[in-house]
């Protein structure tokens, strides 16, 4: 019998689409962004200004508050890290159910 793999968090796909749209990464297919790849310093070429733009979009979309640049850097470690960060802080009503 083959064990069923856990369902992916639907927030992952939403975050990937947000990254591509917010940063206008026209040549990137959202699904090509790997869940655990680092967002900063990876092939996406996200710099500190991009990161700030993304943070502002995330704050608006999910009603969260990221206080400092250091917290931004930690939150944007990867798509998986970002999803965990948002799940821990956002109002569940603003998030897709697991």
């Amino acid at each position: 019998m083959i064990a069923a793999s856990p369902m992916p968090d639907p927030l992952n796909a939403r975050i990937k689409t947000m990254i591509v749209q917010t940063l206008r990464l026209e040549d990137i297919d959202p699904s090509s962004i790997k869940d655990d790849d680092p967002l900063i310093g990876s092939g996406l070429s996200i710099d500190s200004i991009d990161a700030l733009e993304l943070v502002v979009a995330l704050e608006k979309e999910f009603g969260i508050k990221i206080k400092s640049s250091e917290e931004s850097r930690a939150a944007l470690s990867s798509v998986s890290g970002l999803v965990a960060y948002i799940r821990a802080r956002a109002d569940p009503l603003r998030l897709p159910p697991l």
């Binding site: 710099d47 200004i49 700030l52 502002v56 400092s68 640049s69 250091e70 917290e71």
Partner: protein, 383 residues
């Protein structure tokens, strides 16, 4: 390397003119802790001027660390609330026909009256426009202080004052001027504080981050200062100055810290044989703090390093001149304030957290950095 202008120059030094010493005939400042002497004494006592205040002034917002002149509100006023303090400061400046043909004035700032421009846009009060552009704001100051028309306005982010010192020294060295006055001012406003808050480096999580605490906030402060430069003579001289721009990124430095070293190393060579200490920029951002401390530790291993923005806040484009005035007090008295507002462990063992009482130092390198990968430094010493 030979440049397009035919100068034989390396990327880490400026034209030979910048190695020509100039006399620092007078220098003064105002900060949240008072004039240069008062600021120096307060720093020696370890006082911190930074206090949490609403980022948008009377409009509220997150509490952030700001160091305002005593009694001054963050809110913009028309006329500006800082002008009386500037007048008090400039009473310390020697009399001369400032703004005349042989007595140029260099005015530098990051912000000029941008807060007034924001106030005009927000409230529509026309009188704010009288101070809302660099030209209008400097014309107001020049009128209040009685300067003539030989006034040059400069801005280069947080090394603005250093650029003014370099250009003033060039005019002295080229004998275009008998004396030059460099005046720099940066007073905070909701617009300026709000900008740094939006960048997420000004927040309520003070103090600044350090090696063992990877989050925190820089502080911002009010500040203004002046320096009078003359041909070399007895007393204190600015022996050499460097400016270096890595042209790397809007907000970041290359991660190897090469720009910090490139700016300070020529000065260390000029200072050969002198016993130096270093007044670092010490903005309080985690990465820049690490790069600066490590680079200076390598370039000048025998010299203690201090920074004062953890008390005074970052006075932005004026910080190079405000902190020069305090460095002059320190060198003159042999009493050097430590890195107030920071805690151990530091990024380099050369960082001195406490004050240093040692009159055998005969020179200080004052360093500043800015957005865009800009670096500036000068060597202050006895003639």
């Amino acid at each position: 390397m030979t440049s397009l202008l035919g100068w034989d120059e390396s990327p880490s030094t400026l034209t030979p003119t910048d190695s020509s010493p100039v006399q620092l005939a007078a220098c003064g400042c105002i900060s949240a802790l008072g004039n240069a002497a008062e600021t120096h004494e307060a720093l020696l006592r370890g006082e911190r001027a930074l206090a949490l205040k609403p980022v948008y002034g009377s409009s509220g917002g997150d509490p952030v660390p700001l160091a305002l002149l005593p009694g001054r509100s963050l809110d913009e006023t028309s006329p500006p609330s800082w002008m009386p303090a500037v007048k008090r400061l400039m009473r310390e400046c020697p009399d001369a026909p400032w703004g005349g043909a042989r007595h140029p004035v260099f005015v530098t700032s990051s912000n000029f009256g941008v807060g007034n421009l924001f106030s005009f846009r927000r409230a529509g009060t026309l009188s704010h426009l009288d101070f809302g552009t660099p030209e209008a704001c400097v014309a107001f100051i020049a009128g209040e202080l009685g300067w003539g028309g030989n006034v040059t306005i400069l801005s280069h982010a947080c090394v603005s004052a250093n650029l003014g010192l370099v250009l003033a020294a060039r005019q002295i060295a080229l004998e275009i001027a008998d004396e030059a006055l460099v005046f720099s001012f940066d007073f905070l406003s909701p617009f300026v504080a709000g900008g740094f808050h939006a960048l997420k480096i000004l927040n309520s999580e003070a103090p600044a981050p350090y090696q063992a605490r990877d989050f925190g906030s820089i502080g911002l402060g009010d500040g203004a200062a002046f320096a009078v430069l003359r041909k070399p003579g007895p007393g204190w001289i600015i022996a050499s100055q460097t400016m270096y721009n890595e042209m790397h990124h809007f907000t970041a430095f290359p991660s190897d810290g090469a720009g910090f070293a490139a700016c300070i190393e020529p000065l260390v060579r000029v200072a050969s044989g002198r016993r130096l200490w270093i007044k670092g920029h010490g903005t309080g951002t985690l990465e820049a703090g690490r790069l600066e401390a490590e680079a200076f530790g390598r370039a000048c291993p025998a010299s203690p390093l201090v920074g004062w923005k953890g008390s005074l806040g970052h006075t932005l484009g004026s910080s190079g001149l405000v902190e020069l005035a305090v460095a002059l007090e320190s060198l003159r008295s042999g009493r050097i304030p430590g890195t107030v507002g920071s805690e151990a462990p530091t990024f380099s063992e050369k960082v001195s957290l406490g004050p240093i009482f040692d009159s055998s130092f005969d020179g200080v390198v004052c360093a500043s950095n800015a957005f865009g990968g800009a670096h500036a430094a000068l060597l202050l010493c006895h003639a």
